[in-house]
Symmetry: C2
Subunit: 306 residues, 2 copies
């Protein structure tokens, strides 16, 4: 994708032609529809416009701390009408991958979770057994005895049925959990991440993202996880499996070139649309190595189509 993206803000005809090309719009959320708890003006009107023209709307988020049900509540709290079916989160994508794609041996079906409740809810919805996660038993310091038991693979600390380590954003990450995750992978567990976003936008600034929770393990193990969030195509496959859309008639809308736009390009969608209300800059979209087909100052500029 080396063409310069088309700048659509204020280009009424261009916007109308662009919208007409697609049946499905996949939306990244934070940085596109809202920022943190601030709904961008015109977000709802824009979604209404698309729905009124018969477009399928899908909310695609790498946020693994929330389940689809949580995310629907988040959308509702901001006044955005949605259904759970329209939502795809990286925790859901990871759960689908574990339950339907990974062929785990009968006695290795358990998941050790580094993450929050969103992952747990989605694993439960797919009937995947798990340990770790928000279990308070893991929210403690490592002890000298732990080192010996972990090193020895003692079943009081190491569950022999764990066949997967799944890492998402964990606001309760600690050394004990990292040590356990490291040992499960060393013992043969599949190393997965819901997503590897390096940062998390909040309050107009950036904080450590889910990738920062995988990073210690990547460093200690010398191995990368399989990431199930954007831009990984496992997530696109899951979305397509659900909505059975024509990729050439779908458009990915996002604020991050290296995740959202890349996700759409590698998924061979008919279109990609960048917005300048999040992480990537105009410079990124126009001159970066990953460029959308078109970009807008803000999503609600789509309202200027008629």
């Amino acid at each position: 994708m080396t063409d310069s993206p088309r700048y659509l803000t204020g280009d009424g005809d261009g916007i109308r032609d662009f919208i007409d090309k697609f049946d499905v719009f996949l939306f990244d959320c934070d940085g596109v529809l809202w920022s943190g708890d601030y709904l961008f003006p015109g977000t709802n009107e824009t979604l209404e416009l698309l729905r009124s023209r018969g477009k399928q709307v899908v909310f695609v988020t790498n946020n693994s701390t929330k389940s689809r049900a949580d995310y629907k509540k988040k959308l509702e709290s901001l006044g955005i009408p949605s259904s759970t079916e329209e939502i795809f989160s990286s925790s859901y994508s990871a759960s689908i991958y574990i339950s339907r794609i990974l062929k785990l041996p009968e006695n290795k079906r358990k998941v050790f979770v580094l993450g929050e409740t969103g992952i747990e809810q989605e694993l439960r919805s797919e009937n995947v057994p798990f340990i770790g996660g928000t279990d308070p038993a893991y929210r403690r310091d490592i002890t000298p005895e732990d080192y010996k038991l972990i090193a020895a693979g003692d079943e009081s600390v190491i569950d022999p049925e764990v066949g997967v380590v799944l890492v998402g954003l964990d606001f309760h990450v600690n050394y004990l959990k990292l040590a356990l995750a490291m040992h499960y992978v060393r013992r043969g567990a599949v190393f997965l991440a819901t997503n590897i976003d390096s940062t998390l936008p909040n309050s107009g600034s950036l904080f450590p993202g889910a990738g920062s929770i995988s990073a210690p393990l990547i460093m200690a193990l010398g191995r990368e996880p399989v990431s199930l969030g954007k831009p990984n195509q496992a997530m696109m496959d899951a979305i397509e499996g659900k909505f059975e859309f024509d990729r050439s008639r779908a458009c990915m809308v996002g604020d991050r070139a290296n995740t959202d736009i890349r996700f759409g390009l590698e998924g061979k969608l008919g279109g990609t649309l960048g917005v300048l209300t999040g992480v990537s800059s105009k410079e990124d979209f126009v001159s970066g190595s990953v460029r959308p087909a078109a970009y807008l100052d803000k999503l609600s500029d789509l309202l200027g189509s008629s």
Copy 2:
């Protein structure tokens, strides 16, 4: 260094010649003298042999969780006679670097520490003010309010005098500390690490090392810290500054090719000696990209010199 290393175990003449070439022996400790709490047989006899021949012995450790005084206690507990003066730790090296090399503005002299008491003790010994570290006030979950205050740089959570972030192995790492460290660096603080060892040997296995505590910040910031431990030459300069030895008459002894041996080679020491009682394998020493001048099955094979 592309020559094959000389295998000295059982080679009495070779060992004698090798020892005679040096006045100073720098020892990595864990994996060379002991493993965890297990003193290798012959360690003391070997150190006695070297001392009896007038060799200066220096213990060089990347372990930042202990101060030099703590480390002396560790050596004593294993029955190894030593003086604090013979010990160089990465926390000491980092403190020297901050107090004597970095030229910090008057109002930016404070260090935000991600690490344990060893770092704190060494910073105190150099009169460097610090916050964070083992302060229990930082051992808590991040709150929604924290995000806002941190993003805004509010002085209730962000100390404007912090000019350095120093990251070592922190067994109490948490999301709040990572978020604060990230923001201090984004606000201009110098990003330092005591060391970036990916793993920590314990109980015959490997656990996340100090590098695993820097890793989330490297990922979130897209920047590497300056590391003051082996193989960084700031540590060699500090050792040389203290002992004023002739580098051509010094030998680095270690079990890790990519830290210990590299440290000696890049420091242009007269010799490097690998031992096979730790992380690196014979294959690493003989065919790896970083090769010692000589290697032994175990350190005490030096006793077979006469």
